[in-house]
Symmetry: C2
Subunit: 336 residues, 2 copies
DNA sequence: CGGTAGCACTCTCATACGATGAGTGCTAAA
DNA sequence: TTTAGCACTCATCGTATGAGAGTGCTACCG
């Protein structure tokens, strides 16, 4: 069923007023601010219809109306006016994506800073991890005083560990072994490197150094496996949705044990590009009261980074979408 | 003035009951639990004396008593029974410090995990940063497909950045330049390396790569300059001190903009070893309601890492102190 | 038939009030 | 020095009450 022009106007005004004020919207105020020449009773009728269509909710009998998930969805898909990113944020993004850094962790961290500074969102981001990385180099850099830095380089991240050499061990030999291995595994996806491949290579390395090397490589292959980064907690928590201590506590827990947020990000950033999940549209019960504007950065058909702007359902979708589009454009161009 | 035996017993019981229950302690309950054969009136008199000495406070006329800062201090210095670390935490620490990793960031991160898992504390930690680090090596590792990994190694951390080479640039040449520089600056403290020294060296490197290199080195010298790590937020915030939303909000802000926590840690870990700051004993107004058990790890007379266990003043000092002593022992031995 | 005025009704929120209960300080007696 | 007893102080909690905002419905108007 199609909504007539006035119903759309009413829904849009309710969403936007509610986003701005966080208070349920009543027919009286709406009749005034909307500035059509109609009375509150007329608005009430329209509201009742919109509620019957499942686009509005009532917190209780005598509060005003609040958009439902479907109401927000309709607003995002059809009613919302696109809006460009603010000039300052735009400038800083451009500047950053002009640089030649190719390290995803760094780019993710920097992007998150920009995103969280640009609004009240919780900015979450995920680098490529081991899943899509290809090995480029494995090296051992002698660093004096019996120490050596193990370094693993892939096409979009670097991992390292500084280790004490056992007495009498030869750094040069270690380096040569690793470079041979490095050569053999050049270009191989990290997730395809198995424990036995590593062990066979480390065969000629003895004692504790062998253990540390294997532990390091194991961490590179698994632990680096996607650890979601989160920025902007306090502005996020400052929103009126988290007025009650119970809500704050839930949110803090959600953020600290980050698993659910990571799930949400993975689910929402799905197949690249920009997408929006509103409230219960996600399958995760923990985030049913939140929305996310997510994006996945593609490179040669693979997702190498994901970002999300998380807020209460009453978030500024237009702003979040504008930011997301801009990051998508900037980053994909930068790393292409 | 000296406290008699019974006053000390009373103070100790009040601190320990209050730590356990978070409720002000009344004379009636105390008379019962203390199990001396005295009545509540007697206890009331003792309490009145302790209050006059500034060791107890009253939240309001008809609540029970609560330890004051000076009360906690006396408890920590003289009344508290030392307690060993729990077996499981002890085992995991030993295991970790037996390894040969010398990378402070890694050790700090791992230690914080253990610390925050062992109690309701907020565990904060600070690596060495540029302040005490000496340059060991500066290198550029070719990584195929026109990318190169810039690596800076010091005696206790490694920094890296993956960068796209401008067309036609020679990775070998870049590496040679850096190794020369590396040789010249070998062993020099990072904080003594000036911008002009870097620029003179980077002179032979041209164009965008020069910019990226300088930006990378600049970040290594300043940005890495001590960024405090914080673990255990949600267990910390779950404590009854943060029941009111206002308090939670303050705490979240304190944690997220971490500046004050860092100050607190720096101040408290002062000259190495283990130390305790209780409430207003610190000069920072933001943390007047918190306590910290802090430790500084020394190596060759320099502080290379600091840790703090932060809690409400009503924290378990015995447990925190035991953990701190253990970390101090383990880490200093490991890196000596 | 869409729009409007009017009105009864519902529900939240803030405030006031009194009862309750825990705890104190003081006094007088053991 | 200790204890019993008692008056007093506060915070807390449940209840009552009124104000305010908003709705739904009905009757009426153009």
């Amino acid at each position: 069923m199609e909504l007539d022009r006035r119903k759309r106007q009413v829904l849009r005004a309710i969403v936007e007023d509610y986003v701005a004020s966080a208070e349920p919207i009543g027919s009286r105020t709406l009749a005034r601010t909307l500035g059509l020449g109609v009375s509150s009773a007329t608005i009430r009728n329209e509201m009742a219809d919109l509620e019957a269509l499942g686009l509005l909710d009532k917190p209780h009998t005598s509060a005003g109306r609040v958009p439902s998930d479907r109401g927000y969805r309709l607003y995002v898909d059809e009613l919302m006016e696109p809006r460009p990113v603010e000039a300052e944020a735009f400038r800083r993004m451009r500047l950053m994506y002009l640089r030649r850094v190719r390290e995803m962790d760094y780019l993710v961290a920097q992007t998150l800073k920009l995103l969280s500074a640009a609004g009240d969102f919780l900015a979450v981001g995920l680098g490529p991890g081991a899943r899509t990385a290809r090995l480029r180099r494995l090296d051992a850099l002698e660093a004096g005083e019996g120490q050596v830095a193990l370094v693993l380089v892939t096409d979009h991240f670097v991992q390292h560990r500084l280790v004490e050499m056992p007495d009498g061990m030869d750094a040069g030999g270690l380096q040569r072994s690793l470079l041979v291995l490095s050569h053999e595994l050049q270009g191989v996806g990290l997730e395809r490197i198995t424990r036995s491949m590593l062990e066979s290579v480390a065969r000629e390395i003895k004692g504790r150094m062998r253990e540390e090397l294997l532990s390091f490589l194991h961490d590179c292959l698994s632990d680096s496996e996607e650890q979601v980064r989160i920025v902007g907690t306090s502005r996020f928590l400052a929103q009126p949705e988290f007025r009650e201590p119970e809500r704050i506590r839930e949110a803090v827990q959600l953020i600290e044990q980050s698993g659910a947020l990571q799930e949400l990000l993975l689910e929402a950033s799905g197949r690249g590009g920009v997408s929006v999940r509103i409230g219960g549209e996600t399958s995760l019960p923990e985030t049913r009261e939140l929305s996310i504007v997510a994006l996945g950065i593609e490179r040669q058909g693979e997702l190498v980074a994901r970002f999300g702007l998380v807020g209460p359902k009453r978030m500024d979708y237009a702003k979040a979408l504008a930011l997301a589009e801009e990051v998508l454009r900037g980053l994909e161009q930068a790393i292409s």
